[in-house]
Symmetry: C2
Subunit: 213 residues, 2 copies
DNA sequence: TAATAAGTTGCACTCACTGCAAGTTTGTCT
DNA sequence: AGACAAACTTGCAGTGAGTGCAACTTATTA
């Protein structure tokens, strides 16, 4: 049975799968917020979502995956933005705009996303998983950016630009955490400017081989 | 009982502690290399070092700590280099020299360090722990660098410079992993140059608020 | 030598996570 | 509708990480 759309009808099976997945993610997030991310057990999460523990692990390989609840769409959106960026736009500008969108979502709505960010800053374990997952995204973004810049895939500049972007965000967040009250966007802007213009104009490649000082 | 030196005599106790710590690290590294980092149990490591499992955890909070075997001296050395850098040396140059030293050690001697790096690239878990531990070091380095640059501790530029350094190394390592046969030092040099001069001269701060494109 | 501090160990426990072998639900084909 | 297969869920048993506690051993100090 098909729907007029080109897509296949989801069917009860697929729908239920989505539902339990969502239920698990929601429960995980809620409990993590309530009790602190490190005080939640998989059993509680499964209980709250009304499935067995074993089923939990059929959906997520780690407890953290459920809490982080990465939405594949986010990466997809970012990739599309990279590929569809207007011709004149410089690569770092593109990245800045992508970041802007995320920050926007983060600051204005009290969406689950912002809750997650808060959690991530709390738990080392979560941060860890977050970084690891992020690394994969970075690779894809770098590849897309390389293509758009007309450079070979392994080329360093695109990879550095993507890396610099996450670095800028990280540093900005740390500043916030350390007590700065300037808006996150402004801090990010400052970091981006520094990165764009060169972090150290006085740098010149040192002689790295003779007796190390 | 004192030795003529200013330092206190180590005493049997301290000595034994160092010994078992070293034995545990050595066993952990050896077994990780032999069997793959994810196929080693704490029990095996403790067995090989001839201590109880419980004792293992008195020394290391995670299995990974033992394998990574971070030497606090490494960070201390890097910090000293930052603080004692000659007056005219630009900050990024200082960082480049620190990296040079590590690379040197890595490429020439077949020290445990190089083995560890190899392992780290193999196991996601290890990589993760490595990154997390690195983050702490980054903070300290950034603080030291800020001081040397005469900037306030929370200032973004030093933090970005330190972040850029690890980013440069990461990107260079990925290039190697992806098949480049240029020496690691050359790849790192290229990354540093790009970072120093500015990753994107065409960047200019976009208007981040109105309707997102 | 006696008192004390530091280090080691075994034990019992919680929790994450996996493989396997049922059982149940859903989709499909006739 | 009925039968069959594929997909999903679940319980169970088991491994291994990591923690707290109390008893024990060894080094230090007075």
């Amino acid at each position: 049975m098909q729907i007029e759309d080109g897509a296949v009808a989801p069917g009860r099976r697929e729908r239920k799968k989505r539902e339990t997945r969502d239920a698990l993610m929601a429960a995980a997030l809620r409990l993590a917020v309530e009790k602190g991310p490190d005080n939640v057990t998989v059993e509680e999460i499964s209980e709250a979502a009304d499935v067995s523990v074993r089923t939990f692990f059929n959906y997520f390989s780690h407890k953290e995956h459920a809490i982080l609840g990465r939405d594949p769409d986010d990466l997809a959106l970012a990739l599309r933005r990279v590929r569809e960026a207007p011709d004149g736009e410089s690569p770092l500008t593109t990245m800045r705009l992508i970041v802007a969108h995320v920050i926007d979502e983060l600051e204005h709505h009290e969406t689950p996303i912002s809750q997650r960010i808060g959690l991530i800053m709390q738990s080392p374990t979560l941060l860890t998983q977050f970084v690891v997952l992020g690394a994969e995204d970075e690779r894809e973004l770098a590849a897309a950016l390389a293509e758009r810049m007309g450079e070979p895939t392994g080329s360093p500049r695109p990879a550095l630009i993507v890396g610099a972007t996450t670095m800028a965000v990280k540093v900005a967040m740390e500043q916030r955490k350390a007590g700065s009250d300037r808006p996150l966007g402004a801090l990010v802007d400052e970091a981006f400017s520094l990165i764009a213009d060169g972090l150290d104009p006085a740098y010149h490649q040192p002689d790295t081989h003779p007796s190390p000082r």
